[in-house]
Subunit: 393 residues, 2 copies
């Protein structure tokens, strides 16, 4: 199989596949251009005018594209302008990477007409699974357009069939998540690791070919896009950087090892360290993930030092990532609200000090787009990519 | 552009491209099967019998495939067996990663009917370029079959057009290597980074989808195959792991930075450290890259310690590579002859200690195939892939 992949010989397309591909091609064009015409689609896709008329008719009937009046005439009858109907479909998106879980209905341009939040408290095992069912059900009920599908971003290792092989934080081992949800709701379901989903959302916002998205929250994980595609790896667990040992003889990690990156750079461990540096009597678990409130509790110095230490350790790991992948765009989703600037500065300088200056000058470390909706946007992007062949932009 | 890449929509094939693709498809099949028939090719490629007959006629006339007598009849006339004619073409392959440079004529199955070695001494700048011309000329003169092209593996960063952007060891900056060679010899020329070429050769020997090949010689570099394709990166300089800082306040590196992986793990620096540990008066540069002779000079303890230290540092970097890429197959080409075993042991245990045990249990670190001919095989593979659409196996 790998030999065919290498040279990119695709199997012969069936007639059905050909039509689906052409529909996707026309839709991609509308998606990208914003406002276009049948003639433009024909010119840029190489499809005949007759084929394009036929495809556009199907997209208009299906509610994905709408006609928005006459354009400028180049002599004869003015052409009809077409644009995407962002409200023509919705996607039910679920983010299991935060507590409580979150859900949203997402339209075709990333708009979020409706949000829901799961119950407070840490759900694990069967309880977490019931919570996902409840969120999905609530979203399906509230949808105000036909649903394209359900997209889920979850911590852990997710197999290509959408089952969660291993998610320690959720106490899930071999949970057939995609299958169970699909059977319950009779809709297409896409499940991916939270950082992988996030990388897909970030990729849609940037005109690049390669990028890495690093998510720093309860855990630390990266999503990697190479050659314009989400890269998954062998298990598939690409980007599982949280459990690389970065401190010899370091603290015990939830994974059982010691000195993992997460022990010094996850948000809970940053807060724990700030509390410890401040020498105050506070339960780190009860403190909010907001810099302003934390500063009021532990003081600016302790918080600054804890954030800088975390940033330095992450920067050293990212030096490896940048050198190994020669990826120059790094987006960081740091879930400690209001602390992006000092964190990114620490990451950036530790990273730059550990690689060739000529490479360091090319690397750009920036805050991820989409803010707290990143995984929701990514979960929706999974469905959008699979069902319509398009990527957020 | 990146959106099309994401969903794999190729531009419409022209008739010429279609024929070329079908020729490659038929040839790949012959390449893979060893012994086959027109009917088998038709069955497995989905091409009609008439098309296959036509394609095979062209491959036979062109000297790439030969008829080797009748096969087993399933009733009617026995089919004619076909196989690759490995001697039907040759590739001129050149390896600039070692001193002296080396060249070889390589046949279609990786056989090496002829080898040459460049002049002794360290060539740099224009002198190195003249040496490459001389090697290419000697190979072209000695070829005993039509040449498919010239393939070159070189240290440094190689642009996609085959120009060498930067090769510090050769003092090359922006050398239009592929263009200059192609103009001189009027043959297709492929140039790639030595470790990238090596990864392609290694990939051909293994039934995997993702792998990393690490080359440890004068410099240290990795070649990465992901999703069945050589991954190049943004510059493109993927796998340039030799200049990641691994020792704080470490020794000055040739790149100008301090504490790079190469300062502790390149073969010259391993030998230097062994000499220093032994406390003897010897010039590390004059010692051979052979464990047995080195041991006689510096003693087993000093050599063992230097090799183990190098292995530990490389293992720590590879822990990052394995976690980031979730690649489970690592091949190591260690150019200190006769020391694979202790080096791989040190690499493997340092690597395993720094990643999740569940991941470590999946990772296999092994000696690269092809021995000292690795880059030559890779350079030939570059041409083979480009000209015939096939990969070594």
């Amino acid at each position: 199989m790998f030999i065919e992949q290498t040279i990119g010989v695709a199997p012969k397309a069936t007639k059905y596949d050909g039509r689906r591909r052409n529909l996707q091609l026309a839709l991609q064009h509308v998606y990208r251009e914003g406002l276009t015409t049948r003639a433009e689609i024909s010119r840029l896709t190489g499809l005949t005018r007759a084929t394009v008329s036929d495809l556009v008719a199907e997209l208009v009937t299906g509610g994905l594209v709408k006609e928005v009046g006459p354009g400028t005439s180049s002599g004869g009858k003015p052409p009809t302008l077409l644009e995407l109907d962002p409200t023509g479909r919705q996607i039910a998106a679920i983010d299991l990477s935060r507590r409580p879980f979150r859900g949203a209905l997402v339209d075709l341009q990333g708009g979020i007409p409706h949000r829901i939040t799961g119950r407070r408290g840490s759900r694990r095992g069967a309880s977490a699974l019931r919570e996902v069912f409840a969120l999905a059900e609530a979203l399906v009920e509230r949808s105000s357009a036909p649903l394209l599908g359900i997209g889920i971003g979850t911590p852990g290792i997710v197999d290509l069939d959408g089952s969660v092989a291993e998610a320690a934080n959720l106490d899930w081992h071999g949970v057939q998540l995609a299958r169970e949800i699909a059977e319950r709701f009779d809709l297409p379901v896409e499940v991916a690791n939270d950082a992988h989903a996030a990388a897909l959302a970030e990729f849609g916002s940037r005109p690049v070919v390669n990028l890495a998205l690093v998510k720093v929250g309860i855990g630390i994980g990266a999503g990697i896009v190479v050659n314009g595609e989400l890269y998954r790896g062998d298990r598939p667990a690409a980007g599982e950087i949280g459990h690389i040992r970065v401190v010899e003889g370091g603290a015990r990690c939830t994974c059982g090892n010691t000195g993992c990156l997460e022990t010094v750079a996850s948000v809970p461990n940053i807060i724990r360290r700030a509390v410890s540096l401040a020498g105050i009597d506070a339960s780190a678990e009860s403190l909010p993930w907001r810099a302003s409130e934390l500063e009021a509790t532990v003081g600016g110095d302790a918080l600054g030092e804890a954030i800088a230490t975390a940033g330095r350790h992450l920067g050293a790991v990212l030096a490896h990532l940048v050198a190994i992948l020669d990826v120059h765009r790094i987006a960081i989703a740091f879930e400690l609200e209001g602390a992006d600037q000092p964190f990114l500065e620490a990451v950036g300088s530790a990273l730059a000090a550990r690689i060739l200056p000529s490479l360091a000058s090319l690397v750009e470390v920036s805050v991820a787009t989409h803010g707290p909706d990143l995984v929701l946007a990514g979960a929706a992007a999974l469905v959008l990519r699979e069902q319509l062949g398009v990527v957020w932009q």
